[in-house]
């Protein structure tokens, strides 16, 4: 504290220490916020379902009803949302395909009521999707300002692929 540069160093350093303390309290306060959300997800339509040589592909759209507003507290930077399709075939024990994803940064847009969402196709390695049960799951990752990223899984629904391939419309 005897010279100008030493005082500047001490004060700025102490400001940083207090900031870390405040941040730590912020992380601890996360425990008091509820992270319960209701999510309703279901299949809207199977647009395409066909095969090519040794693989199958399908394009589906989904309906999503999700109110994610409770997840936005003061330690939430953004939410990463994605929908996975899960199925089992004889060839592979478990396959998981992301069919839709989205990055949510604003609370005002967190109330989602969307129909016919689709982004990525389901491409199956090998054959075996016919008459197979697909489990759709809604997943979200909470990306915090500080602390650890948490992963959650809510809302599932199941549907079955038809027993025959669909004719291409075009």
């Amino acid at each position: 504290m005897h010279s100008l540069s030493q005082r500047a160093n001490t004060i700025v350093c102490f400001g940083g220490i207090v900031l870390v303390g405040v941040l730590l309290l912020n992380v601890l306060s996360r425990a008091f916020f509820s992270d319960h959300v209701d999510v309703d997800i279901k299949l809207n339509e199977i647009h395409r379902f066909n095969t090519q040589r040794n693989f199958e592909y399908s394009f589906i759209s989904i309906d999503l009803d999700a109110n994610l507003e409770p997840l936005f507290n003061w330690n939430t930077k953004m939410l990463f949302l994605y929908v996975t399709a899960e199925y089992r075939t004889k060839q592979n024990v478990l396959s998981q395909v992301v069919v839709w994803d989205h990055i949510l940064t604003e609370k005002s847009k967190a109330n989602i009521h969307e129909k016919r969402l689709s982004k990525y196709p389901i491409i199956n390695q090998g054959l075996g999707l016919k008459n197979n049960t697909i489990k759709l799951t809604f997943n979200y990752n909470v990306v915090p300002i500080s602390g650890i990223l948490t992963r959650h899984q809510v809302g599932t629904s199941e549907f079955k692929f038809p027993t025959t391939y669909m004719k291409e419309a075009y």
Partner: protein, 80 residues
């Protein structure tokens, strides 16, 4: 800045930043916005820089009373 002044400056910057941090945390919690807390701590740091960085007069009120320099008489002086 004398020794008493350094002690006072240390008290001032520590309390300023901590109080700004606590108030900012509470307001940030109520408003659910962490940027308020961050700017509050930054403001507290900036304020204490203004308060404690320059050598203000209140930090110089206890100057050390140094002993008067001893005038040494050299042997050459005696001989004269």
């Amino acid at each position: 800045m004398d020794f008493e002044g350094q002690k006072l400056a240390e008290y001032i910057y520590q309390y300023t930043i901590i109080i700004f941090g606590v108030i900012g945390w509470i307001i940030g919690f109520i408003k659910q916005d962490f940027s308020i807390t961050f700017y509050s701590v930054a403001l507290g740091t900036f304020l204490s820089l203004i308060l404690c960085l320059p050598n203000w007069k209140i930090y110089c009120q206890h100057p050390l009373s140094w002993q008067k320099p001893i005038v040494q008489s050299t042997p050459t002086d005696k001989s004269k």
